[in-house]
Amino acid sequence: MTQPSSLEKKEPLSVELTEVWKRFPGVVANAGVELSIQRGSIHALLGENGAGKSTLMNILAGVYRPDSGQLKLHGRSHQFRNPSDALSAGVGMVHQEFRLIPSFSVAENVVLGSAPSLIKTGQVEQRVAEMAAKFGLQIDPSQPLWQLSMGERQKVEILKVLWRDAQVLILDEPTTVLTPSEVDDLGEILRRMADDGRSIIFISHKLHEIAGICDHATVLRQGKTVANSLPVADTSQDELARLMVGASPTISTQQSAAVIGKPLLELKNLSAQGDRGMNAFSGINFDIKSGEIVGIAGVAGNGQRELADVIAGLRPSISGEIIMDGADITTKSPNHRFQSGLAYIPEDRLGVGLAPRLSITDNAILRVYRHQRKGPFILGQKALSYCADIIERFGVKATDVNGPIAALSGGNLQRLLVGRELDGKPSVVIASQPTRGLDVQGVKAIQELLINQRDSGAAVMMISEDLDELLAISDRLLVMEGGVLRGEFDPRSASRQEVGMAMLSDAQVRATP
């Protein structure tokens, strides 16, 4: 395992990033980040969403150029212009979204881009098999990729990087697509690679996995390194969680909760599958009452998006019931649910909630066109005045209501979408990441709209990755992790750290309200 630190010092670090700055319009993603990785070690890179991990890794992998800062590999300075530069210097990245070709064999996927000019299939497959065996990756190189599970596909991605002889491997949240036993496998594979003298950077949110797999951990917060190369064996998970989420106590800005009434939405033992055929979430039980906002906290990809889709009727459930205002709507159509008072603000605004090529007016009337018509015709004047009404009441800035909606800015798109959904005085509002990517004003406007809905008696479910936002506006906070509810908190009394722990580990945390 980890070598004594006195020995390590003699060898140059395999990766050394110093004072790395990277600004994007409106955001400083990296503000003088430091990162140092020893040869032959597995190094965890921790941080909340937006802490700057992805930016930093994209710099190391040659995707972005840093504004300033130094990058050294094995003691030598480098400046990468593109991912190929980084690869030839020995840095390879396994992205979260696989870049694989389903109809190709495993071996073909592995060698694409660095194949010999003449490919002798048997020989190539043999070499891939040998390489796989060396690191304990059990995989048949001749198998077509589409037959493989997500875990096996990840092994192919890792083999791709190894095939190019990368000495530094970056794995971006590799465990999100894996089953628990596959996670254990991955740990062993990574250890073999480290023992072979390679360095592995492991990005994850799951602290217990890091404890089992990694040697060192670097923690980023708000674009800065808050802890550099902590030895994982000597650091508690609590400590890591505290470093990630910060120790600042939350000041609840919560206005007094409105009158809480009867349950309007009840989920009973609800389960559904995700896009990849694995369970997205299972056994979800909770209700939302009239006059409350229930926040769903969690790191992206833990089943929240699928949960929202299932409630809205866009994804089938495999078991359980959805009760809305006393009526079972489990198998009802999306339109039926909307007509009975369910509003849905989807995460993918322009791809699901709006029709990008159509006009602003056409998009505004998506929920009401069935009623605003005479015979087969949609009433044009009524559509225009309806649209004008939404624009005015919800503060959408639009110059031409007949122009394509895609021309609007993100904030205005969302105001239109939210306005349209809330206009019908819904009794239940499902909002998935409603403020993501908006500017400060936009965030405030959308939050206020949701709070107003609650105050007028609606049941609101709000999914967000921004814990501070949820702590500020929810009346109750549920944490989702690995497709199950990991805890329930009262935002007025819960500490940020407590909630953060529930988001980041599998440990069952129950806070007493």
Partner: protein
């Protein structure tokens, strides 16, 4: 390293499609000039003859409009499918199917009064075109089979079918062994409006208006456009996609079939091998130039009709009619190019760095 790439303009260049079309026309005329000069002709003389023959007076207009009828209907057929993001490449075959069905009615109803006969022929034409589109429509709606290839294959099948009919069972015994079907009964011919323009002009105009209004102003058309813009959004708002796909492709086939029926009763007066005359393929280009908007096909069809009629007229000057075919292709390529450059700018960029959208991910 610097590389040339296309970058999306924040604001598209003003003018939009008409300007792009104009640029396409200009490019086509320029290429045509080169071709004509190369063949030793005087381009000005040729172009003025083309203009005179197609747009130079009421008679010329009537001939051009007659040509615009099948072009416009075929273009409409393609555009209505295109509004939902579907490709009907089979208008060529559906035109034939419509003409065959109409001819069949004329064969059995030769003694019927004119109005009834023509009406039944057109109804049959609509049904014929719809029937040919039904297979691809069901395959697409139920099995997800790409409609491009199925409709394309059926073009060739329909073409062989009409060839078989007029070489065999439907061959006119008085045609001196030419592969021709008998002439239609006199009362089966559409009346003339003015010059040579026939009543089909009103039919085509009415259908184009009805469909344009339906797509633009009805709930049905609204759902069509939503589905054409984003399937996920259509599902989100509760629109049933398979039903819509089926309906739209069959409607598209029906319109193309009508084009065949109108062409038969209005222009050719008998079933021939070349009844579709490339109108189905030209219709795809008409629809593409109209950006798949049903309301835009009429204008483009008239312009294409003029180019085709003008092209025919210069044969008497010893110029190959292929010049007009080439002009049509260049109008399209020119307009595509102009369309792309109105939305994209050419940029010289230092290297392939990704941009800010990906900060979040």
């Amino acid at each position: 390293m610097r590389r040339i790439r296309l970058r999306l303009r924040e604001h598209p260049l003003p003018g939009g499609q008409p300007v792009a079309f104009g640029i396409g026309l200009a490019i086509a005329l320029f290429v045509g000039t080169l071709l004509l000069l190369g063949a030793g002709h005087d381009p000005l003389k040729i172009y003025s003859r083309m203009f005179d023959a197609s747009l130079g007076g009421p008679d010329a207009w009537s001939i051009t409009l007659n040509r615009a009828i099948p072009l416009g209907l075929a273009g409409l057929a393609v555009a209505v499918a295109g509004s939902m993001g579907l490709w009907n490449i089979g208008a060529e075959g559906q035109i034939i199917a419509g003409a065959i069905a109409a001819s069949w009615v004329a064969r059995i109803g030769g003694s019927w009064p004119g109005l009834l006969l023509i009406l039944m022929m057109l109804v049959a034409a609509v049904a014929g075109g719809a029937l040919l589109a039904l297979g691809p429509a069901m395959a697409r709606a139920k099995l997800g089979v790409n409609e491009i290839i199925t409709t394309l294959m059926l073009n060739e099948v329909a073409l062989r079918l009409v060839q078989w009919l007029i070489h065999g069972p439907w061959k006119d015994p008085d045609s001196f062994n030419f592969p021709l079907a008998p002439m239609l009964p006199d009362q089966a011919r559409l009346p003339t409006l003015f010059g040579r323009a026939h009543f089909g002009l009103l039919i085509a105009a009415a259908v184009i208006i009805v469909i344009s209004v339906a797509v633009r102003y009805t709930a049905w058309g609204y759902e069509l456009r939503i589905a054409g813009s984003s399937e996920a959004t259509a599902r989100y708002s509760g629109i049933s996609l398979p039903k819509k796909v089926l309906a739209v492709l069959v409607l598209s086939g029906a319109i193309a079939g009508l084009a065949g029926g109108v062409e038969l009763t209005g222009t050719t007066d008998r079933l021939t091998e070349s009844i579709s005359n490339g109108f189905g393929f030209a219709g795809i280009i008409v629809a593409a130039l109209a950006l798949m908007r049903p309301s835009g096909v009429a204008a483009v069809a008239i312009l294409f009709g003029a180019v085709q009629i003008g092209g025919q007229s210069i044969q008497t000057l010893g110029v190959s009619s292929s010049v007009s075919t080439i002009l049509q292709a260049f109008i399209l390529f020119g307009a595509i190019g102009a369309g792309v450059f109105s939305r994209y700018a050419i940029a010289l960029e230092k290297d392939a760095l990704r941009t800010t959208e990906e900060v979040q991910s």
